[in-house]
Structure formats: C-alpha cells, structure tokens
Symmetry: C2
Subunit: 146 residues, 2 copies
C-alpha cells in the first residue's frame, strides 16, 4: 500500500472529470479515477477550491459524526474488479475497529476532511512513460504496418 | 408542521427531476423540490425503486452510524430563503439532542432510511387547484383583454 500525499483534480472535455492520486506531486506513478459531478465537487470543496452555499451530503454526516465518539483511522483503495474500484474506510469506536466498504471517491472526501491517510494498493497505480520509453514507443510505432 | 406520509419521484423533460412530498397520497397540497441526479437516485434507492452496485455516500455514512449510539428523531423542512429550502436533522446521542442544518434532499434520504418522521412547515406547501377553482380561472381568463 502506498500513502497518498497529493490529490489533484483535472477535467478534460473528452475524458470527463478525474481525480489523480500520487505519493508526492513529483511522483511519476499515479492512481486515476473518473468521477461524477457530485464527487468532483465534494473533493474540490475539501481541497478548498470551491465553496457551497449549503451543506453537501458529506457535510451533513460529518457534522453528525463530530458529536459522536468515532475515530477515523485510514482509507484504503485496495482492489479493482470488473472495472470498478473498491475502497474501505477503517474507523474505531468503543475500542472496536470496523472496516466498511466504500466507493473510492467517498473514501477520499472523508479522508481529506478527517485528515487521515489515504492508501492505494501498489498494483492499482499507473505510471507515466519516461522520456526514453516515449522515444522507444515512437520508434516502435514507425515500424507498425497499417 | 405537517407530517409527510407520501414521497413521490417524478421527472419531466422540461422540468427536470422532482420530489413531491404529501401528507397522504390523496392530499391536494404538496411540497415540491427539484433535485439533481445524485439526490434523485438516493431517494429512489431508499424507496426500493433502483439498486446500486456500490454504496452511495449516504450508505457509507449510515453504515458507520449503525455502529454508533445515535438515535435519529425527525427531519424538518422548515424554511425557504432566496429560493433555497432549508431543512434540519434532529438526533440524540448520550442524552443530548442536536439539530443540524441540512439540504431537504439529504434529510429526506436519511429519514426514509432511518424510518423517522419528515415534517414540512405548512407555509411551504402548494396546493392543486380544485375543479371549481380551475373553472373559475378559465372564466376569468376569457374576460382578459390581450
């Protein structure tokens, strides 16, 4: 599991809304997820990029949770199955630890809000091509007969 | 405050997605709110109209809440200000009662899930025109000079 220090939002006209997770901003490997508008806004809000006039769903429940004895420990994005990514949220209450199934986007919002670690399984990362690999790839492409 | 027994979902091409709240299905007055896709889906899910493969945001937090000592009491949609409706969620934990600000759609999802009362302030209701009013209105319209 890799600890994420960098959560970046991106949007491209042909790709839609994306969340990019990296170990550090400089890291060349990344975990990429495509999200809907609500998830994008929720993460943007946690990053202080947008404000919402009214509490969003996360705000409501996190406000409730503030009144309760619950300690959030970490979130893990641990698996991909049938093109769907799976995450879990780990928390403790009354000396018992619980693990709950979550969508990665909800886990990231919760983690940013509660300032707990976001961990991503190493095999879920993709890597940017290096300059050398890019050139090798271009050479390879030239040899392909269309 | 009026207690809601009937939560109905509706969608019209030119109007968008709507949630209609009524005292009873037969009642001629109603509270209407326009919602986004995520809110519409969350309410549809609570009504058993759709299933989602993965837990939505409400599911995650409601699962966390199941492990905690929290008793939800009721939701109230109490005010409209600058075209925005305001709701509150009232809950109890450790013998203390708390009231939290919420969007009406989140309050309705939570209420349906926890089977707690949904209350709407009487002045927020609209009323269908009766047959008699409709005819009076048509007579009135005939007299109007354009």
């Amino acid at each position: 599991m890799i600890t994420i220090e960098f959560v970046h939002l991106d949007a491209a006209p042909d790709m839609g809304k994306m969340v990019v997770l990296k170990e550090t901003p400089e890291s060349d490997r990344f975990f990429l997820m495509f999200v809907g508008d609500a998830e994008f806004t929720a993460i943007a809000k946690e990053k202080g990029l947008v404000e919402s006039k009214r509490p969003i769903t996360h705000d409501l429940y996190l406000s409730i949770m503030e009144k309760l004895q619950v300690e959030f420990l970490r979130c893990e994005i641990h698996e991909v199955r049938d093109d769907t990514y799976y995450a879990k949220v780990i928390f403790r209450t009354n000396d018992t630890e619980y693990t709950l199934d979550s969508r990665p986007s909800d886990a990231v919002v919760l983690a940013l809000n509660r300032k707990i670690p976001i961990l991503v399984a190493e095999d879920l990362f993709r890597r940017n091509l290096t300059q050398k690999e890019m050139m090798e790839y271009e050479e390879l492409i030239k040899k392909v007969k269309f």
